[in-house]
Symmetry: C2
Subunit: 337 residues, 2 copies
């Protein structure tokens, strides 16, 4: 039979309420009592019943991780974040639930509300691009549900984790500049994603700092997918003065650019340097391997969840933590021809 809190109380010779206090790390328990109760819990392998705790205490010990399954980034990126979030939740004895929330198609507010009233999460972790949907953020604040973002965002009083995408993008373009490239193209990601904007801004910043005027033909719209990278590259390669280097806003599009280069008989990196962003496993498996920006996704998920849980448990308000990026210079970039 299941060991209940009451059983532990009897074994430790205290009232159930005191065991509850120990369980929840509350104040006003002498160290001696706390020890005794802890020992009894241990000895009996006591496991509190989550539903009973939730019902009586009016909290669920549940964190929901939201992602957009419509135009989400690479699934490996999400999987890594998920792993990190899960690790943090486990450490704090919270459960985690993942929830897709399609942002295209209007009624996401209704679906979000349903999620909240169906599952009662104590907090929510937002992943890109959901982090960029202002109406949802507004709704989150209205419903008074604490949340943390794994996000390129860095403004406002948000808690979670971020990376300086603009500086990373600038750094990778500077790498191309150092290799002697001047005609450097950029393939933009989905327009309304924050990530796209910051990566573009970093590209522009680097080009401007190098004294290169912006050539509109060198900046083409993509959509974060392989196919969109192929199409964007075809436009670039059809130009009279084609670029010698392409910085695509993510690895999938960069892969598309490399594919298109093959079509046009351009050798990477001899004729064309290509770089991406994200450091997906794919980027290492290409030939040549892709120069890209690595972000510590797993760690970011973990940090975001920790900030959220810290705030939930009243340990301060939660921060917006910035993590470093790493430039992964690999075979797809070389000196300008």
């Amino acid at each position: 039979m299941r060991v209940r809190l009451e059983d532990v109380a009897r074994a430790a010779n205290v009232s159930p309420k005191t065991v509850s206090r120990v369980l929840n790390d509350e104040a006003n328990v002498t160290d001696a009592t706390r020890q005794r109760v802890r020992a009894a819990m241990e000895a009996m392998d006591y496991r509190p019943h989550p539903s009973a705790r939730s019902l009586a205490g009016n909290r669920s010990f549940l964190v929901a991780m939201l992602y957009d399954n419509n135009d989400n980034p690479a699934s490996t990126y999400l999987a890594e974040i998920q792993d990190g979030v899960l690790e943090a939740c486990d450490a704090h004895r919270y459960s985690m639930m993942v929830r897709p929330l399609r942002m295209r198609g209007g009624d996401f507010i209704r679906r979000f509300d349903a999620l909240i009233s169906d599952h009662h999460p104590d907090g929510v972790v937002l992943t890109p691009p959901i982090t960029d949907y202002a109406p949802l953020l507004k709704r989150l604040r209205e419903s008074n549900v604490p949340y943390a973002s794994v996000s390129p965002q860095r403004r406002g009083k948000v808690i979670g984790v971020t990376m300086d995408e603009q500086r990373a993008a600038r750094a990778i373009v500077e790498h191309l500049l150092e290799l002697g490239h001047r005609r450097i193209a950029h393939v933009i990601g989905i327009a309304d994603h924050g990530a796209s904007r910051w990566r573009l801004a970093g590209y522009r910043e680097a080009m401007a700092a190098a004294g290169l005027p912006e050539d509109p033909a060198m900046v083409v719209q993509g959509a974060f997918t392989f196919g969109s990278g192929v199409e964007a590259a075809r436009k670039l390669f059809a130009l009279a003065k084609r670029p010698t280097a392409v910085f695509a806003a993510n690895d999938d599009m960069a892969t598309g650019v490399m594919w298109a280069a093959g079509e046009y008989g351009l050798k990477v990196p001899q004729d064309l340097s290509v770089c991406g962003f994200d450091d997906t496993p794919l980027s290492r498996q290409l030939w040549p391997a892709l120069t890209t920006v690595q972000q510590p996704s797993r760690e970011m998920g973990k940090i975001a969840a920790e900030q959220l849980l810290g705030a939930l448990r009243g340990h301060g308000a939660g921060q917006l933590v910035q993590v470093p990026f790493v430039l992964q210079i690999r075979g797809s970039t070389a000196a300008a021809p």
Copy 2:
């Protein structure tokens, strides 16, 4: 304030217990009453409190999806299964929780027990390679937790979903044979995964049926990773009589084979045909794109969860459903040189 079952009961002019009966689709409620209660629920946007239901009814409405985060297959594969499982759970108003369970390192039984007593899932969905760990399956049965597998397994009285991997492997090797290949190599996956065994069996079957004696040098061990594919291929290419075609047990290893081909100056598919298994997104993004076997992962996750939920809700015992595979013939295979 929250709408409770009692409120619905008052509105529909019945007892709380009757509302509960309607909520749980129980028998012995007249159609008229059922209608009335349903209408009241709808009108008040009633959402049962999961913890209260769980506590009183002694079930959690929770399905746990287990995966091995040690040597798991491609994360996209898992992500797709997860999506399918989630879809089925949502449809039946169950929650889903994903749980990594590292199989290397012995104490997975203890960690599994902790998972059960911490979260009380009503059922469990197993993904490869967890499906192959007999001790865990034994423990599942002992603890009386219903489970379904997404699995290459096809023997025994298991419920879930399966694909005929052996026949698929045979089919892809037959495709190579039809192209005129005779020296066909196979790169095996992690030895104790069921998937590896069946894919190898399919390879052997096809070769034997074509009257080709098995050449031990043509069968090399891999580990489902890109790197292991590279190494395996190097061994094959170093042979005096190198293969004209390689069938790798998954796409990641096939990608490694293609990489190694580049190192050796072998053109794919002119000098070497390569094929894989899984149809990961990666396989489409290579150049040339990879010939491979597509399995409907998302659908498989959904079916497994549906079988499990059906059994949980007493609609029969649950089946082992077999889904079809699709051979994806793409640019990486061509006539033998």
